[in-house]
Amino acid sequence: MAASEIISGAMRERAADYLTKRHRFRAAEALPWLIAIAVFFIFPTRMTFGSQVLVMVMFALSLDLILGYAGIVTLGHAAFFGIGAYTVGLAAARLDWTEPISGLFAAAIAAGLVGFVTGWFLLRYRGLTLLMLTLATAILLQETGNLRSDISGGYDGLPGLTFKPLLGIFDYDLYAHTYYLYVLAVLAVMFYLVRRIVYSPFGQALTGIRENVRRMHAIGSPVHRRLVTVYTIAAAIAGVAGALFTQTNAYVTLTVFDFDNSAKVMVMLILGGTGRLYGAFIGAAVYMVLEDYFSKLSPTFWQFGIGLVLVLAVLFAPRGILGLFERMGSYFAERKRS
């Protein structure tokens, strides 16, 4: 064999390996989960807050599918969170249905259904048009809830919800320990699903749509169908996050549909880093922790701070915190090589 053939042969194997092994779990991936479990032991009095952080991680993860992987920018993702939240809330308040796990399934189905229908119509559009359409849809859902505030509780919400013990066994103690582990377990399941999707051929097609949708059309990809599929799945997951929100807060109001919520989750995801799954973890955790600390100090200071962070992030760290880690990593790798 000629030398060039040997080299090409080696290259082929390397290339094939890269693709066949990419989906395997890496050791570093255990880190966020270890941290989450450590928090359970180190901060036993902050479990309610911890649950809220995990809920937002799930919410941001669902957005990453649409924004990070498929490259679709929307302003109405809170709509699905809200639907999930209200499915559980209304079932508990009006139908006396308080079993938590079936509530999650119902929320996922309801939110997924709305995601499917709205996605089918709206994902034909892009840019400002799509931003406005998704924003208007979320607000319309909110206004619909407001119309029948006798049912929905309006902006005052549905207070004092109670839920049956988890699996009939685990009851909810005052410090919400059970809740935290419950949300963590659901998050783990959701994450596993999202991770499989992202590493599948479908997930590959999503990145193709993000990178060059024109090319996707030209190679025969059914782009609209792919987008509606991922939008539906993301909606369902956001719905589960909303359902957990209601269950852990024992309370839900129409403010879950606020544009503020859609913007907040987008900021979290982008600060963490889009299109890399763990950006949702870092972004949501960092944002929530900082918000908790600073807005207690001074809400005005917090608002100024988050605005400043956004500006600095766009100018200097457009790939988010994960992007900074990546840059540091490659910097050190360069130095090691030289």
Binding site: L128, V267, Q303, F304, G307, V309, L310, V314
Partner: protein
């Protein structure tokens, strides 16, 4: 006047005044987005800043209302040029998302600053006598302030229309909105054009903010609360179109006012329903380019 007709006239009148406010504040956003494709979500903050400048001038320095409006427009317009040169310029080639995030960040900073300086409670301004009370138009009375808003709006529309359609600069702007690369290749300095339109647009937004104090109330959250509305007017009207912004402002202004008159709480519904219907049928808005 018969009751139904009375209500209809009220809706039209108030809706028209509201539409004038929407037009004045949004037209700058429409033209800058159509011209440079730059998504400036700090536009609402410029409007808010204009409002607070008017508040300071009238309450702390005794300047009369109308001159304050003019000064606020000029000051904010001038300051916006600094933002454009120093910050925005670097993002013209960036993605929409990055522009959204940067300008939202600026808006947050502006809101926090306004809260720090003026507090979160809505402010009012002293109005001259001729703007208070009602004006009698023969068949019924109308609030003077809103009448003023309508007249001012009409005058600005005439001036802007003339500038857009009949002057050299207007022609250049229209050409650049239509096809930027071609405009540049025939020697139009689009960058400078953009700075000019951006300054005028921000100045008009400040004017709108000052006018909004009496109409809608001014608090720091004005910057994001009404931003959604401005974006809707721009999207529904079509980017870069004066006609489109006006038509969208009229349609949305009157529908919103009518909705709130007739259905109180549920009234806010209509603006968003109209938006969805229009954008589904004409995704680029009334007069937008496909």
């Amino acid at each position: 006047m018969p009751q139904v007709a009375n209500i209809a006239v009220s809706i039209l009148f108030d809706g028209l005044a509201y539409a004038m406010f929407l037009f004045i504040t949004s037209v700058g956003l429409s033209v800058t987005m159509g011209l440079m494709g730059f998504v400036n979500l700090a536009h609402g903050a410029f409007a808010m800043a204009g409002g607070y400048v008017v508040v300071t001038l009238t309450r702390s320095y005794g300047v009369s209302f109308v001159p304050s409006l003019v000064i606020a427009a000029i000051v904010v317009g001038a300051v916006s040029v600094v933002f454009e040169r120093v910050l925005y310029r670097r993002l013209y080639k960036s993605t929409d998302l990055e522009q959204v995030l940067l300008t939202i960040g600026l808006a947050f900073m502006a809101i926090a600053t306004a809260t720090y300086l003026y507090g979160p409670i809505p402010k009012s301004v002293p109005l001259p006598d001729w703007l208070q009370g009602d004006i009698n138009l023969g068949f019924r009375q109308f609030p003077s302030y809103r009448a003023f808003l309508i007249v001012l709006g009409a005058a600005l529309i005439a001036v802007l229309w003339y500038a857009f359609e009949r002057t050299n600069i207007g022609a250049k702007i229209r050409a650049a909105v239509d096809n930027r690369r071609m405009a540049e290749s025939v020697g139009i300095n689009v960058d400078r054009l953009f700075t000019l339109t951006f300054a005028v647009g921000s100045g008009l937004a400040a004017l709108g903010g000052g006018l909004a104090i009496q109409l809608l109330g001014l608090s720091p959250s004005f910057a994001v609360l009404y931003l959604v509305l401005f974006l809707i007017v721009v999207a529904v009207g079509g980017l870069g179109s004066l006609k489109g912004t006006l038509l969208a402002a009229l349609v949305l202004g009157i529908f919103d006012t009518g909705g709130k008159y007739l259905l109180a709480d549920a009234g806010g519904f209509f603006v968003y329903a109209v938006t969805v219907v229009v954008l589904l049928i004409k995704p680029a808005g009334f007069y937008g380019r496909e």
